[in-house]
Subunit: 339 residues, 2 copies
């Protein structure tokens, strides 16, 4: 049916078969309304017969658009439970497809994180970027803005409140508030926090949700918080110390990785996670899902994030570009046995 390994048919081939000009075929593909219905049908038949599909390179050259979205992918983090990227990438790919875009992955070339962006930008290989790691105060966003490169960030511009690019983010505080309130509703009074070091904006955001929820019920937070690195070992140590010094009956953690550390401590001490002694994680990683009895965890609506990001991208790339819209989405709580 479809020809094997011959040169693919071109516009001209279709035009000849249908007995029309090249431009008419082009219109049949891009502006069908411009054609009389009978010629449209004739051209479509020819397209079908030849199995024609417009050559991407030629189209890209002429229209100055590639319909590709670039996204940098960092090294997989081993030893942690960070499963965000996997789910997000898939959602983004799926949503982009519906909008007529494909996703181009590129690696951060170690020392110079901008090199990849610069290269793709100058060679006009992609139409826009999705930037996922805005939290480190990293230069990508600022640099891309200066170059007037279209991009949407997954993550708020914490350090640049006057940034003008569109962004989409998940309300971490709302997530931990949800988690903490859930524990309060279950009767807990002393709920501890294990989060990241103070220089992490995301970490502080999530911590704020925890303290907000406690204060809303008139409960104190003093002595119940700990800030450590994002490793299982740190979570284990921190929870051990908190148990000894503050006697909490529940833990809210900034990540599933830290929550696994808490479960580790529980195991050390013969405690079973559940209604009495609870733990809640953040990210709803695979780990949370498969660990015995399950780890209750805050789940980011990554599918929705992808939808919003693509929406913003479409706006940026429209002619004329529409005003940048940003969105802050609310996570949900995946309830499991650990709470």
């Amino acid at each position: 049916m479809t020809p094997l390994s011959t040169t693919p048919p071109t516009l001209a081939d279709v035009a000849e078969l249908a007995g029309v000009s090249r431009q008419t075929v082009s219109n049949a593909v891009n502006n069908p309304d411009l054609l009389r219905s009978d010629t449209l049908a004739r051209v479509q038949d020819a397209i079908e017969a030849l199995g024609y599909s417009p050559n991407r390179a030629a189209r890209n050259l002429r229209t100055r658009a590639s319909h590709l979205i670039g996204m940098r992918i960092g090294p997989a983090q081993e030893g942690t439970a960070n499963a965000t990227m996997d789910r997000f990438v898939h959602s983004l790919v799926e949503t982009s497809r519906e909008a007529g875009y494909h996703v181009l992955l590129f690696a951060g070339s170690g020392e110079d994180p901008l090199a990849g962006y610069d290269d793709l930008l100058r060679s006009t290989a992609v139409d826009a970027f999705v930037v996922t790691d805005t939290y480190l105060g990293n230069p990508q966003a600022v640099w891309l803005e200066q170059r007037r490169a279209p991009f949407v960030a997954f993550g708020r511009p914490w350090d640049h409140p006057d940034a003008r690019h569109p962004w989409v983010d998940v309300d971490g505080a709302a997530g931990t508030d949800l988690a903490t309130t859930h524990l309060l509703d279950r009767g807990h009074q002393r709920i501890a926090w294990i989060g990241w070091r103070k220089d992490s904006r995301i970490g502080e955001d999530r911590r704020a949700g925890w303290s907000r929820a406690l204060h809303a019920r008139g409960l104190p937070t003093t002595g119940l918080a700990s800030r450590v690195e994002d490793t299982v070992a740190s979570g284990r140590e921190a929870s051990a110390v908190l148990l000894d010094e503050a006697q909490p009956t529940a833990f809210v953690c900034a990540s599933d990785t830290l929550a696994m550390g808490v479960l580790h401590t529980f195991r050390d001490r013969g405690i079973t996670a559940g209604r009495e002694m609870s733990v809640v994680g953040f990210d709803d990683s695979q780990v949370a899902q498969v660990v015995p009895f399950g780890l209750t965890s805050v789940r980011q609506p990554l599918e929705d994030v992808a939808v919003e990001i693509v929406k913003a991208l479409e706006g940026l790339l429209a002619h004329p570009p529409t005003i940048a819209t940003s969105a802050l989405l609310v996570p949900t709580l995946a309830l499991r046995g650990s709470s």
Copy 2:
């Protein structure tokens, strides 16, 4: 330094600045040896000064190559510990970059898994594919072969031994053999197997390694094997039954998901995983890494897989194409507390 939002410089711009012809600039980029060293330097200065980078679309159109590798990405599997893709994708992106390729992701559009391939192929959007799900006896490989589309498979062509395309795979049997032998060396005699249903070629391959290792020491396998679905619940049930009926002291599992099910049963019965009662999983997922005390697991050398795949791709896309080479790589064992 770099111009803001103006049209990027073209070959002609560089040529004018350097006082040479367009073709000379093209040669400076693609065949520097053809130029006299002083003109080369002059052209390179001009390139540097203008921040020139060849327009991808134009180059693609002329050379009939996109330097893009397409890869289909399936939906993230929730509720399992399958972390293979994440690690592999990153390795592939990184390795491809070194070979001058970028990775284009596309989604499997539900009902028709071939649609995505067909589309990209006909529009000459990608040079080749990496096909990752060859195990289901799925039609991709056969179909791509018929269309003479260049592709490399991650996974053996189980059902088509006469397939002529290059492939790279990990020797599952070698992995489970490694795991089983490790347990034997630790003194275990009765080692159970929990794997997938019989129609899974990969599952049978991994099972073969387990039975091979036991038979090599003259130990029986009868009554020690179970074949179930790849879920935590199935692993939990299967291990419970095996413990009652066959009294094994160790379990080798076809996946970390199943191994988590075993840990679940251990927990149910107050058993602590370790030297006495051991479990080994497969895939070295994040779950295996962060679960308390750690889950010993067979680790696929995905970085090496990516290298081999890219090597094969370069062969396919070379002029003239070199003969397809396939590779079967050996996994390693990540030792942790569960064994």
